[in-house]
């Protein structure tokens, strides 16, 4: 009897609470574990995707490859949450934010290590891989 195929649920490890377990971009979690943040690129047309996706709507193909996010971006905007949704109450307060890397943008959180008074729209920041207190993985933005 054939062995039952193992379900690949790596994406359950992404974020304080992950709402997705099955995705073709599961490798993203492996990159995070190695301390890397990765996006995808369509090998046919060169279009860059962040957040990463497995499929290119332009080519109607699923021929993508991973690339590592390097360098820094500019802070587009941010907000400090005083209340969290269900499952995030123990995290507050925290800042969600958006960085513009030029050819793509990254949505995430600002590191707790950055004092709020130092945060300003337009400042350079970079995304780094991060392990949360509950063992889950995400990425956070730190000062460049």
């Amino acid at each position: 009897m054939a062995e039952k195929a193992k379900i690949d649920e790596r994406f359950k490890k992404f974020g304080t609470v992950s709402f997705t377990s099955l995705t073709k971009t599961n490798d993203f979690v492996d990159f995070l574990e190695k301390g890397q943040i990765a996006g995808t690129r369509c090998k046919d047309c060169g279009r860059v995707f962040f957040p990463p996706r497995a499929d290119c709507f332009q080519c109607l193909a699923s021929n993508t490859e991973w690339f590592e996010v390097t360098g820094s971006g500019r802070l587009v905007s941010f907000s400090k949450l005083e209340y969290g949704p269900a499952g995030f109450q123990n995290d507050v307060p925290y800042c969600i934010a958006l960085l513009d890397y030029g050819t793509f943008k990254i949505f995430g959180r600002i590191s707790r290590d950055v004092p709020e008074a130092d945060i300003a729209v337009g400042m350079p920041m970079k995304a780094i891989a991060n392990t949360l207190p509950n063992g889950q993985l995400n990425y956070v933005f730190v000062k460049e």
């Binding site: 974020g15 709402f19 949450l81 269900a86 969600i96």
Partner: protein, 388 residues
């Protein structure tokens, strides 16, 4: 080309916790609109039921409501685009009538948000965003709009006081609306005094007073062909223009953070279809789920140039007596925001205005009215233009 009309409008009172089931809640808005249109259930050829899912236990509410409202065996449709569901429902009803498939269609929006806790509802609302790549960071609707507020302030020097002025205006009219959940006055001091509840932080820079309240409610809009409208209705209000647009759910996929691209695109479509421009609008209902949302709407709809929305509120141009009255029914901020019912309630206000039946909030002799209804954080945008 034959026209499409609104021949009846209605809504329930918007309340903190409706003491009944969702089908009973839907009945309240439906009854109000059917009485307004002086119709019987036999006159309605189809229903469109609109809400955001997951706030109540009922699956596939359309079929359940159709029976409860006496609309069997007519067909029913379920339409969902988060907070703009009932404007999208209007778009469907318009298409059904325009195609000749049905002549009279009831668009019923509803939401009963009180069945779950506030934290649970925030989690569900957050899941109206990108659940794979954003929600794991702990997102909430106020925080997303707060990011737009921060970007608007950084780009144009918009202030927290400007945003507070929008809340003060909403409360000015919310006090006059017997369907509103929040009928108390709000002063500028309420939002600026650090010890006032209204000034409490939610998601910086937005405060409690910058956010609309969750509410339970229902609304109903009866849409009819020109022939039926003339037969049934003394004062039909005509659908002159409809616009609808979408964009990336993840903020990472967007380029504009000082306005909503969907509102700009939907208004462009609606103005073009109606053959009018922003200066022709006499009264407007905009989606002020947060104060910053109304500020951006002024600019996205062309009532003000980019960054100049604050001049409208500072000069009271958007008050009832101003050059472009906006949300003189209290808006979402004071009336409350029962997701699926909101668009229908906005349409109701504009229709009553155009019929000259808006009572204490009546704007002087309006001929053209506009409804701006947004789903999610600018994920869906609907702009609808109406005329007498």
């Amino acid at each position: 080309m034959s026209r499409v009309a609104i021949i009846g409008v209605g809504q329930s009172e918007f309340v903190r916790a409706y003491p009944g089931s969702v089908r009973e809640l839907a009945f309240e808005g439906f009854r109000d609109a059917m009485r307004d249109a002086r119709l019987t259930v036999k006159d309605v050829q189809a229903s469109v039921i609109c809400s955001a899912p997951e706030y109540d236990k009922q699956r596939s509410p359309a079929g359940v409501f159709a029976e409860y409202l006496g609309l069997n065996p007519q067909p029913t449709f379920y339409v969902e685009s988060l907070c703009s569901s009932s404007s999208m429902g209007l778009r469907l009803a318009y298409s059904l009538v325009k195609s000749g498939l049905h002549e009279v269609v009831a668009v019923i929006g509803f939401q009963k948000m009180s069945e779950i806790s506030s934290a649970e509802s925030q989690e569900r609302m957050g899941r109206g965003a990108d659940i794979q790549w954003e929600s794991p960071f702990g997102t909430m609707m106020p925080a997303y709009y707060a990011m737009y507020a921060r970007a608007h302030m950084a780009a144009y020097g918009t202030t927290l006081e400007d945003l507070a002025l929008i809340r003060v205006k909403a409360a000015t009219y919310g006090q006059l609306n017997d369907k509103a959940v929040y009928r108390k006055p709000v002063t500028l001091e309420n939002l600026t005094h650090p010890e006032d509840r209204m000034a409490g932080p939610v998601a910086s820079p937005l405060r409690v007073g910058d956010c609309c309240a969750n509410a339970d409610g229902s609304s109903c809009v009866i849409v009819a062909s020109e022939e039926k409208a003339k037969a049934f209705c003394r004062k039909p209000v005509w659908v002159l223009g409809l616009g609808a647009a979408t964009t990336s759910v993840n903020l990472a996929g967007r380029d504009l953070f000082t306005g909503l691209s969907v509102a700009r695109e939907a208004s462009r479509q609606a103005y073009k279809m109606a053959g009018i421009g922003p200066k022709d609008v006499d009264v407007a209902e905009v989606h002020d789920c947060f104060t910053i949302a109304e500020m951006m709407a002024y600019e996205d709809l062309g009532f003000a140039g980019p960054g100049e929305g604050r001049d409208l509120i500072r000069g009271k141009a958007t008050y009832k007596e101003g050059s472009i009255p906006v949300n003189v029914d209290g808006g979402l901020l004071s009336k409350g925001h029962p997701i699926g019912a909101t668009g229908g309630s906005q349409i109701r206000t504009v229709v009553l205005q155009l019929r000259g039946e808006a009572g204490a909030i009546q704007v002087k002799d309006p001929e053209i009215g506009l409804v701006h209804n947004i789903g999610g954080v600018g994920l869906y945008g609907n702009v609808s233009i109406f005329g007498r």
